[in-house]
Symmetry: none
Subunit: 257 residues, 2 copies
Amino acid sequence: MSLNNIRIVLIETSHPGNIGSVARAMLTMGITDLCLVNPRHFPDKQATIMASGAEHILQQARIVSSVQDAIADCTLVIGTSAREQRSVPWPLMSAREAGTFIAEHSTTGKTAILFGRESSGLTNKELESCQYLLSIPVNPDFRSLNIASAVQVIAYECAVALEQQPVNTQQRRELATAKDMQNYYRHLEKTLIDIRYMDPDKPRLLMRKLRCLYGRIQLTKSEVNLLRGILSAAQGIKFIPRNQRKPADDTRSLSED
Amino acid sequence: MSLNNIRIVLIETSHPGNIGSVARAMLTMGITDLCLVNPRHFPDKQATIMASGAEHILQQARIVSSVQDAIADCTLVIGTSAREQRSVPWPLMSAREAGTFIAEHSTTGKTAILFGRESSGLTNKELESCQYLLSIPVNPDFRSLNIASAVQVIAYECAVALEQQPVNTQQRRELATAKDMQNYYRHLEKTLIDIRYMDPDKPRLLMRKLRCLYGRIQLTKSEVNLLRGILSAAQGIKFIPRNQRKPADDTRSLSED
């Protein structure tokens, strides 16, 4: 599986809770390879708590003392950055572009995605180890993206790109055919006349409006049957002698909410 | 700005820290409208700490006691769900599809995105207030997506989709609000009982199916009025003495095509 070819590298992370949250975020997206470069406090109880079920990601995490060790076996190295302008114009990708790029690459080799310190990000020297920079588009007035949130978004983009197909867990539904809809509209029109909502001599645009409304839904066959059952129930009552009905005009007003 | 038309609704959140993390996640993507339905502990110091610079989102958050109050002025209501199978096949979108859909919608009306309890998500009753369900694709072996991470991914998808949105040339239509729809469903249910299509003692899944059906359409206000006019016309006939009606069972079969 290509997700195995994606490594998350955290550099000098200050808060162990963040390491745990990152592990959890990774695992929700199916990424399991975590490498920690000189973490301040690790292992740590707070990391375990925040991993919240993803503790094995922490247990199997590799701890190294340099970025070079973390990325040695990788064929693609991408740095993350919140800053937009740098003195050296590094090739910059959005998270979405990076997801696609990494997904393509992960069939052939390992990718490392580098996350810098919570306070100051990656150093220029660390950036020089990267082939590309990745930036998540953020609110220019509030760039304070939590490190685990950044990992979550990027891991999500990689997973979606690897899926290639949009998730569709929806059950297959048998949609109504044009003929089903034709029969439905005919039934609806007849019912509207029967319940005296529509005057067949002055139909106005009523049926067109209703076609416009129901046409948008993509009804299933069973839904058409349900709606037609309701129409039939409404029609059933029409067999009452007309002279005993209330005047139609009184029945057209909307009921109170 | 269309991001102003997106509301994050958190329902009965247990951990105040999560509320703070959600506020931070929202603001990084430029979303500021937060509504809390019966939060367990709020305001709370832990929420403020986790907001980490986004405290004003918490301060201006609206606290309400029902989902209906949270969504009353919204014209699109989307529920988030980690579960895949449900008895009624609600229209399900991926986070990406939802982002695009919400971006398109946000030029004309407000969208509420509902997040359920950390432990148990949304109840079926709450799901019935939704027109669509949104599911973030996750690792089937570890579905434990933190609520703030889920908000982060969805807010990110909305922000990216809004960035990419083409100029909307679609005609402005005044969409029905959640309150309009609530009144419509109440009227519909009463009518179905009146015309003896629905037995109030054995309602089965009828109203849920109809909510699922009409929820997909994005009805306009004038369409809701049209449909309610039809309901009133159908109800008008109910005042005929019962002993002169045909038996209800005979009227439930579909008419011939």
